[in-house]
């Protein structure tokens, strides 16, 4: 758990991301793919920053690459569904009851690279979650989550 307050930073596990990575890892092992050196790794762990009006998580390049396994081999693009999973995890920090993805739009391809963030904030009764890339003005993806 991280400290509260403006700009408080720490580490946290995103539950949906962790579950997805574990399942992908299991499928890779079942297919005979090498697991590689991953000792001490905590699946789904991210650097998380909690600010006054939003929460942000930096998605590590290795994490994004793991989500691309087998997806357009040789031309890795992070599947939108997995980006949405990260956005929904962040939305849960704002409002745990916001469990319906009203809509999620993708504006740019996201490749495994440094400087990719998921972030979420409350806005007009909804949670707005985004994928943003350092140096890019527009979010690569935006999702709106609401309560049932």
């Amino acid at each position: 758990m991280i400290a509260e307050g403006n700009g408080a930073a720490g580490r946290a596990v995103l539950p949906t991301l962790a579950a997805t990575l574990a399942l992908l890892r299991g499928e890779e092992a079942r297919e005979g793919a090498p697991l590689g050196a991953r000792s001490g790794e905590i699946l789904g762990q991210v650097d998380l920053v909690r600010e006054t009006d939003r929460v942000r998580a930096r998605l590590a390049e290795a994490t994004l690459a793991a989500l691309c396994a087998g997806h357009f081999p040789g031309d890795p693009v992070v599947p939108g569904a997995h980006l949405l999973g990260c956005m929904a995890d962040l939305a849960g920090w704002i409002d745990a009851a916001a469990v319906v993805v009203e809509r999620c739009v993708f504006r740019a391809l996201v490749r495994p690279q440094a400087g990719v963030w998921a972030q979420a904030r409350a806005e007009r009764g909804k949670v707005v979650a985004e994928i943003v890339i350092d140096g890019e003005a527009r979010p690569a993806a935006v999702a709106w989550l609401v309560r049932r």
Binding site: P79, A81, L84, G85, V100, R103, C104, V105, R148
Partner: protein
């Protein structure tokens, strides 16, 4: 009626391989309203994003049957909608029925309704709306 797709053909059309290739085969029977039905691979477990990705793959396979101009193009997911993420999923295979909701051919925008059937998906199935478009 489009010919039934088998596993090797599906992998080639989607340009995915394990663990990302989530659709195993197309079922022979049509779903309601002419929907095409697909069976997923049987996984040891599912997270909801994995099943959403499977829906996108099912929609992509449907697209190849209705929009010839998109064949060979880089098709990407433009949007998802109407997804309840508090679904409880189980191990095993799921069935996905996919049918087009909107086909804006000139804009190259195609929206599909995918309904997931199987353990934990609820009696009426678990709906996922997928919009596919051509990569910019």
């Amino acid at each position: 009626m489009t010919a039934r797709l088998m596993r090797a053909e599906i992998a080639g059309l989607l340009r995915h391989e394990a663990p990302a290739l989530l659709i195993a085969e197309e079922e022979l029977a049509e779903g309601a309203g002419g929907a095409r039905r697909f069976t997923t691979r049987a996984l040891a477990g599912w997270s909801w994003p994995l099943l959403v990705d499977a829906c996108a793959q099912a929609a992509g396979l449907c697209l190849r049957g209705i929009a010839v101009e998109m064949i060979g193009g880089a098709v990407v997911v433009g949007a998802y909608a109407g997804i309840g993420v508090d679904v409880g999923l189980r191990a095993g295979a799921y069935t996905i029925s996919a049918r087009p909701l909107r086909c804006l051919a000139k804009l190259q925008v195609f929206e599909f309704l995918c309904v997931v059937e199987g353990a934990g998906a609820g009696a009426a199935g678990w709906p996922v709306r997928v919009t596919l478009t051509r990569a910019a």
